[in-house]
Symmetry: C2
Subunit: 243 residues, 2 copies
């Protein structure tokens, strides 16, 4: 691993940035445990505590930033990279009245939305990526941080005709985590956030010349417990993928 | 003037930052012309082009930032400083769904809202500061930049029982400036921004334990031409202040 700065996180995982900061095309953030590079996608457990619906989340994008950072599912050790399209670094536009991403945005390790699998609810195939998490807590998470989060609900976005589940979650160490256990309580403590989430994803590709995105379930959040089913099924598919 | 970095702006004005960056209590940004410190409040002309309602604006706070930066009306040469309250640096909270200030925020030079003057419309005295400008253009302005802006309308905020006019304006060099000449056109090109502005100021002191702010004129924007009256009257009062 090239010489660079490291930061300590959850579960003795360190990270190493190479190729320059975010905004440099060569930017990569690698995950390291016991001085060995690991894959955040494969080598971090999904479930932290099943009975409390707590999962591990890998933060890719800090709240209020614009750079589209994501786990590179194709590269060895799956570092986080700055996504490109047509050889240009991707940034989300600021969709008024929002600034950048309005949550800490990340992925659930050891999950996979299979493009060969038509979801019976959404009638669309998976988007070929890990399942996305929207973390709503009060702290800004940094790229590469790994946090225990509690799942509150899931929205079924149809993005460019692909199923792209968005799990709403809150960090277990957030001051409000004990009080927010589901979507109704999220609405009580953070009124408007769920509808803003729907609004944000509906419109976020319009500045790129694309149409509004659609939603399954009439854009209503599904219960996190029953929709642990897609998580587990995604997990199951993931295990098949590794075989 | 201590040795520091300088930046070139409008009208041969340079700026010099001393005392550390924003967030350092000693941070000050001074304005310099012909190698002499000048006062941005007193030494920059208010009117750029009266017939086109163009004024000069001193940017204090970049859009989407949180630090409450303002011209120090008491200190020699009126540098921009990071405002404090009870010895703590002031930051505005992020009022959901907004991030920080939602415009480039600044002041109109050579204006003054007189605390000895009860405004006949608002029935409240002035707030003892220059008139505030909210610049809505597409570029993020930096602290200390001076720009020519076109006034589009004015809102009459009653903040803590003081009159605090907010002039909505757009930089004359903005790509949309030629198309936006008033509040109705602003609403056409940036739908929701005026109501978001009202919402923002109504609530922005609530996180500090203060009540909602109120508005004169039922929070409706007043025509910039007729409300050139308050600008000119403020200017007139300002001239009295200097005598």
């Amino acid at each position: 691993m090239p010489k660079t700065h490291t930061r300590c996180f959850h579960n003795q995982i360190k990270t190493a940035v190479v190729g320059g900061p975010v905004g440099a095309p060569a930017h990569r953030l690698y995950f390291i445990r016991d001085n060995q590079p690991i894959s955040p996608w494969h080598d971090i457990p999904l479930v932290s505590n099943a009975s409390t619906r707590e999962y591990n989340m890998i933060c890719e994008i800090p709240r209020w930033s614009n750079a589209k950072l994501e786990i590179d599912t194709k590269a060895p050790f799956n570092p986080i990279k700055h996504d490109t399209k047509n050889n240009k670094l991707r940034y989300v536009a600021n969709i008024f009245p929002y600034k950048g991403y309005i949550w800490n945005y990340g992925a659930l390790p050891q999950t996979y939305e299979d493009p060969a699998d038509i979801d019976p609810d959404t009638k669309c195939a998976g988007d070929n990526d890990p399942i996305d998490v929207l973390e709503v807590g009060s702290k800004i998470c940094r790229e590469g941080e790994v946090h225990r989060v509690k799942a509150l609900g899931v929205l079924a976005l149809i993005d460019d005709k692909e199923t792209d589940w968005k799990v709403l979650a809150i960090r277990s160490d957030d001051p409000l985590a004990a009080k927010i256990n589901g979507i109704d309580e999220l609405e009580s403590f953070m009124p408007g956030l769920v509808s803003a989430t729907v609004d944000w994803f509906t419109k976020y590709k319009v500045p790129d010349g694309k149409p509004y995105n659609c939603w399954a379930f009439d854009a209503k959040s599904q219960d996190a417990v029953s929709r642990a089913i897609p998580l587990l099924s995604a997990d199951f598919i993931y295990l098949e993928l590794l075989e």
